[in-house]
C-alpha cells in the first residue's frame, strides 16, 4: 500500500531544512508520520508537518546522506508514501507549552496549529544551533502563540539550550500539558522539570524504523514499539526506560549510546 506522489511545493524553511508538499488523501492527525521513499535512495520515517486535507507535507532536516540528498528534490519529483502510521497528540489541553529542538518543530507545528484553531493558548519554546535554524518560528507566531527562542550560539534569544527557557516558563506559568520533540536528553530535562508541577508531558520520539508495522523490532524502545505504540508517549512511560535518553539501536539491532555512531 504505497502511493507514488509528485512534489507540488518545496519550501526552504532554514538553510538545512526543506518542506515538501504533495497530494496524499489518507486522513492523518498531528503526531503521525509517513514512510517516505526517495527512489534510488532510502525510505525514511518523517512526521507529517502538514496533516490536514489532501495536501500533506514533511519537513526534512539535512542529517545523514539521504536527508541531505533530499534537500535537492524539486517540484515534480516523485516520492513513495505509505502511512500515516503511529498515534496522535491528544489535543484537548487548553494551555500548552510546546518545546521544540531542531527538526522537532516539524511534528509540533501541526499539533499546535490544530490546538490553536480550537482556542487553546500556546507558548512555544524554540531551540536551534543558530538563529537561522529556528524552524517554523513564523508559523508558530502566525497561530498566535507566544514564542521564546534559544540558540546554542546566542545569535538570538536565550544563549544556550531551549531547556533553560522551558524550565523558566514551567516555573512561572501554568500549563495543562507540555508537548516536546527534539533530542532525548532535551525531552528528559523538560519532563523532569514538569514532573514535580504535575504537568503531563508528551514526547515524540524517534528510533530506527524499517517496517513501521510493529513487526520487525527495529524501533523497539524497551517494551514499546515506537512505530505503532508511539511516536508520541507520555513522559512517565519513557522516563523509567533504561534506553530513553541514553541509547538507541543501530540498523543491526545493537544498542548504541546517543552521540556515538
Amino acid at each position: 500500500m504505497r502511493t507514488v506522489v509528485r512534489v507540488t511545493e518545496r519550501v526552504l524553511e532554514t538553510p538545512s531544512t526543506v518542506t515538501l508538499r504533495f497530494p496524499y488523501e489518507a486522513p492523518a492527525g498531528p503526531g503521525q508520520f509517513v514512510m517516505i521513499w526517495f527512489p534510488g535512495d532510502d525510505e525514511l520515517p518523517m512526521s507529517l508537518s502538514y496533516t490536514g486535507g489532501s495536501s500533506k507535507g514533511v519537513t526534512i532536516k539535512a542529517m545523514g546522506e539521504t536527508s541531505r540528498n533530499v534537500q535537492r528534490l524539486r517540484v515534480g519529483d516523485a516520492v513513495g508514501i505509505r502511512g500515516p502510521y503511529g498515534n496522535r497528540f491528544d489535543l484537548s489541553a487548553r494551555r500548552v507549552l510546546v518545546v521544540g529542538g531542531g527538526s522537532g518543530s516539524a511534528v509540533l507545528a501541526p499539533a499546535a496549529e490544530s490546538a490553536a484553531a480550537s482556542g487553546a493558548h500556546l507558548t512555544v519554546a524554540l531551540g536551534a544551533t543558530e538563529a537561522s535554524e529556528l524552524l517554523f518560528r513564523r508559523r508558530f507566531e502566525d497561530m498566535g502563540a507566544d514564542v521564546e527562542v534559544a540558540t546554542d550560539d546566542g545569535s538570538e534569544g536565550t544563549h544556550g539550550f531551549v531547556t533553560v527557557v522551558a524550565e523558566r516558563l514551567l516555573a512561572t506559568e501554568r500549563f495543562d500539558a507540555v508537548w516536546t520533540c527534539g533530542p532525548e536528553v532535551m525531552m528528559q530535562k523538560v519532563a523532569r522539570a514538569a514532573g514535580p508541577r504535575n504537568v503531563p508531558v508528551f514526547c515524540s520520539v524517534e528510533r530506527q524504523m524499517k517496517c513501521a508495522l510493529g513487526m520487525c523490532d527495529a524501533c523497539a524502545l524497551g517494551p514499546v514499539h515506537v512505530c505503532v505504540d508511539g511516536p508520541v508517549f507520555p513522559a512517565e512511560r519513557l522516563l523509567p526506560l533504561e534506553e530513553f535518553g541514553r541509547s538507541h539501536r543501530d540498523p543491526s539491532g545493537r544498542r548504541v549510546p546517543f552521540g556515538t555512531r
Binding site: W37, C216, A220, G253
Partner: protein, 310 residues
C-alpha cells in the same frame, strides 16, 4: 464451567510448549524485551531473530511492501546484532520466564555449527536453523535448497548441541518433503515449514523494484495454501514433529495447519496486522474450536486431514 476444555500444550520431541503458538523468527525478535512481550501476550514460545556471526545492518529501506490485507513482501536482509552481542537479549527474555528458541543462519555448515553452539549456550530450549537465507548477496538461490545442503548443515549442528534442532524448510523447492527427509535423517528433532516465498514488487511509475534489495520474501495470508501444502507433504514422509508456518492469523488457520500435520505453528506477519494481542486470540480461539469439534487436545487434531473418512 465447561467440563471439557481441550488441552493446548504440545510436545516437540523433548520440548513441551504451553500452547502450539510460537512467535516466528524475525518478528519482534531483535530485543529481549520484545521477546518477553510476545511471551507475556500468550505465545507458547518465542523464536529469536536469525542470528549470524557478525552484526548485520540488513538491507536499506524500503525493506517491506504490503498488499492490502493478504500479503507482505520483505527483504530485511537478516539484520541482527551478531552472536557476540545477542546473548544479552536471550538472557533478558529468559529472565522474564519466556521459553526461547534460538534461530541461526550461516553461509555453510561450519558457520551454522559454530553459531548454534554459541547460541545454545545461552539457554535456549531449542535451535531453529534458517535454511532459506541467500547463498550470497543478490544471487537467488538459498543455502538450504538441496537435500544434501540441508543434511550437511543439520548434521554439523546436531554434533555441536544437545538441544533439539529444528530445520526450517524453504517453500521454493520442487519437493519440500525431500528436504525434510534429509533433515530428519541428519538428526533434526523437528521440521518447520515454511519460510517466505520468493517474490518481487515493481513500481511501474518509478520503473524500479520497490525493495532496495530487489527480491524479497512473501508472507501473510497469501502463503497459507503454500505452507499447508508443504506441511501436508512433509507430514506424510517424516516421523519427527512438523511445525507449520505461513499466513496464520486466525485460530481456524492454525487448526488447518494442525490437521495438515503440524504439531505447533509459528505466527509472523499477523503480528503486524493484528498486534501482539493476536496470540491471546489464537489461544482462546483454538481452544473453543477444538471443543466444538470434539477434540480433547490440540495434539489429537494433528494430521486429522490425512485420515478423513470418505
Amino acid at each position: 464451567m465447561r467440563a471439557d476444555v481441550a488441552e493446548l500444550a504440545v510436545e516437540i520431541g523433548p520440548l513441551r510448549l504451553r500452547n502450539p503458538f510460537l512467535l516466528a523468527s524475525g518478528i519482534w525478535g531483535e530485543s529481549g524485551e520484545s521477546l518477553a512481550g510476545a511471551w507475556d501476550a500468550g505465545a507458547g514460545g518465542v523464536i529469536t531473530k536469525s542470528i549470524g556471526s557478525a552484526p548485520r545492518p540488513g538491507y536499506p529501506n524500503p525493506t517491506i511492501e504490503s498488499y492490502s490485507d493478504w500479503g507482505l513482501l520483505n527483504a530485511m536482509g537478516l539484520p541482527n546484532p551478531g552472536i557476540e552481542e545477542y546473548p544479552r537479549e536471550v538472557a533478558a527474555a529468559r529472565a522474564r520466564g519466556a521459553t526461547v528458541i534460538g534461530s541461526v543462519f550461516g553461509g555453510d555448515a561450519e558457520e551454522f555449527a559454530e553459531l548454534a553452539r554459541r547460541l545454545a549456550a545461552t539457554g535456549v530450549v531449542a535451535l531453529e536453523l534458517n535454511l532459506s537465507c541467500p547463498h550470497a548477496e543478490g544471487y537467488g538461490t538459498e543455502v538450504g535448497s538441496t537435500p544434501d545442503d540441508v543434511a550437511a548443515i543439520v548434521r554439523a549442528v546436531v554434533r555441536e548441541v544437545r538441544v533439539p534442532v529444528i530445520a526450517k524448510i524453504t517453500p521454493n523447492t520442487p519437493d519440500p518433503a525431500a528436504l525434510a527427509v534429509a533433515a530428519e535423517k541428519a538428526g533434526a528433532a523437528a521440521i518447520s515449514a515454511i519460510n517466505t516465498v520468493r517474490g518481487l514488487a515493481i513500481d511501474a511509475t518509478l520503473h524500479r523494484p520497490v525493495l532496495a534489495h530487489g527480491l524479497g520474501g512473501l508472507s501473510g495470508p497469501a502463503i497459507k495454501p503454500v505452507g499447508l501444502a508443504c506441511v501436508w507433504q512433509i507430514y506424510s514422509r517424516v516421523q519427527v514433529p512438523v511445525i507449520g508456518v505461513g499466513g496464520i492469523s486466525t485460530s481456524e488457520d492454525a487448526l488447518e495447519y494442525l490437521m495438515a500435520g503440524a504439531r505447533a505453528v509459528e505466527v509472523g506477519t499477523a503480528v503486524a496486522r493484528d498486534g501482539i494481542g493476536v496470540f491471546g486470540r489464537l489461544v482462546s480461539g483454538l481452544s473453543e474450536r477444538l471443543d466444538a469439534l470434539g477434540y480433547r487436545s490440540a495434539a489429537a487434531a494433528v494430521g486429522a486431514a490425512h485420515t478423513a473418512p470418505s
